[in-house]
Amino acid sequence: MSDKLINAKNLKKSFDQFIAVDKINLQVDRGEVVGFLGPNGAGKSTTMKMLTGFLEPDDGEIFINGIDLKSNPLKAKEYIGYLPEGAPSYSDMLVSDFLTFIGKMRGLSNKKLSSRLEEMADQINLKEMWDRPVEILSKGFKRRVGIAQALIHDPDILILDEPTDGLDPNQKHEMRNLIKKISKNKAIVISTHILEEVEAVCSRAVIISNGKLLANDTPKNLENKFLNRNTLSIKVSNKINNVFSKEIKSLLKYDDVKIQKTDISTHTLLISDSKKNPNLNTVLKQLSKLKLDVIEANFQKVSLEEIFRTITSENNSK
């Protein structure tokens, strides 16, 4: 069995004149959780719809566990569990009936189906709502039902379009834990615009904007790539007037030095440079020459959010 469970090459999709997805390549191995990041309308959902066989790409090819999705869609779809955006389900059905229907359509035998239904009720905490119609469920429970239908056949590949959208913080936490728990032997792709979600559950982040794939790396590596934009923040217990401020700036020799009053007796220096990272030792030595008392010093690391904003805004300005 191939480890590359999803292998999409040069995917392209247009709607009339609008190019929704432009030559996207994506490979996902077993055990990986890939976070799809991008502004609204970036092409995340369209890409997911192509990966699940809902939409046919205009160009490019998709292999699911080595099977060509175009030439053998029924076989390829067997490996995929999919939660569409908004977790649609048949609102007039009971939770148990809905999951039974999906399980049967997925070709599960009666014995296998009943054991999977029990597992879903336990694993996804659906027991209390088991015999209730989907239409009376809260948003959180509806989302859980959506996850359960995607998982009912224990697929190798899980594609989840905004699985935590609209959930409260506790439900989001539960959903992330669930994704982590089931991720060990599956390839999971989740789309989100919540960056902390990617940091919390994803082993790889893929950033898409205007249909183009702009970054594809681990969250850690993405942070490292952007470390040269770090800002050194130093808090001093001195009063700094305008003249003193100019003196400090001329001594430090970095592109950007901001001095902000923190409270009555302290000021904070924010030091950054486009060419090099500020050197903490050098800065501290120079500040001691000016008899500044440093009480706190730390690098303000870039968050994934800033990286995301930088990458997508660079792409938009092009």
């Binding site: 719809k49 699940t52 066989g53 809902f54 939409l55 869609p73 029924l74 076989k75 779809k77 067997e78 995929i80 999919y82 569409p84 955006e85 908004g86 649609p88 389900s89 048949y90 609102s91 007039d92 059905m93 229907f101 999906i102 049967k104 359509m105 997925r106 070709g107 239908q149």
Partner: protein, 248 residues
């Protein structure tokens, strides 16, 4: 093949039970029974005719189906598209043909249930006189076949829109054209711009002329072929429309 039919059956089963999950089924069946009996006794003058047959009952079916079949079939695809569940269905390991056929059969079986519930009127006419039961049986089958043609048309048109009301209206209008296809109202509109053979083709598509022959107990091959080809053509277009319109 077994698996293919099995999945079509699972779709059919879900759809058919779906009619009974809401009050829709009971309301529909009540309306159908009330209207069909009302038309038979009041408009069809069942007693005044003083004949032991069900002509007064069956002759209203094309007009009854014109409204009731779109009501049954309007949700088939429009609702899937509105609620987004079409995405669930299409990403399951089934073909669009299985989905379309399963859904259509469910609505057709539901209509069969409605027709079976009118059987007391058949029993009544047997109690009152000695009707030609062969003609009645053929008429029941013809009525069900015509209902199938109406339903396949509605199913096909409901794939065009996310709005059930629009699906209902366009299905009723299209059904009206097909009922009236043999009448001058439609033929004169077609005759003015088309060659003779098109006019003749349109004329031969009249639901009313096919069904009136069935009511006389004449069930020839051409009628059977007509209704079945109508159903197959509409379902084929339905499959193509689902494919084209699914992501709109």
């Amino acid at each position: 093949m077994d698996n293919y039919l099995h999945k079509t059956y699972i779709i059919l089963d879900r759809e058919l039970k779906g009619y009974f999950r809401t009050p829709l089924a009971s309301i529909f069946l009540l309306v159908f029974l009330a209207l069909s009996s009302g038309m038979t006794f009041f408009l069809g003058r069942f007693f005044e005719r003083d004949q032991a047959d069900l002509t007064a009952f069956f002759s209203w079916h094309p007009w009854l189906f014109l409204v009731l079949m779109p009501a049954i079939g309007m949700r088939l695809w429009a609702e899937e598209r509105r609620s987004g569940t079409i995405e669930l269905l299409i990403t399951l390991p089934v073909t669009n043909t299985q989905l379309v056929v399963g859904k259509f059969l469910a609505s057709w079986i539901f209509t069969l249930i409605a027709l079976i519930l009118t059987m007391p009127i058949w029993i009544t006419v047997n109690y009152l006189g000695e009707p030609d039961n062969h003609v009645i049986l053929v008429s029941y089958f013809g009525s069900w076949l015509m209902a199938g043609a109406f339903l396949s048309l509605t199913s096909c048109l409901s794939a065009l829109t996310k709005n059930q009301v629009i699906a209902f209206i366009i299905s009723s209008i299209s059904g009206f054209v097909l009922i009236m296809a043999g009448f001058n109202l439609v033929l004169s509109a077609v005759r003015s711009w088309s060659p003779n053979w098109i006019t003749e083709t349109v004329s031969s598509m009249s639901f009313l002329s096919h069904f009136s022959r069935i009511q006389m107990g004449v069930f020839d091959l051409s009628t059977l072929v007509f209704f079945f080809s109508m159903i197959i053509l509409c379902l084929w277009i339905n499959v193509q429309l689902v494919q084209v319109k699914k992501a709109d």
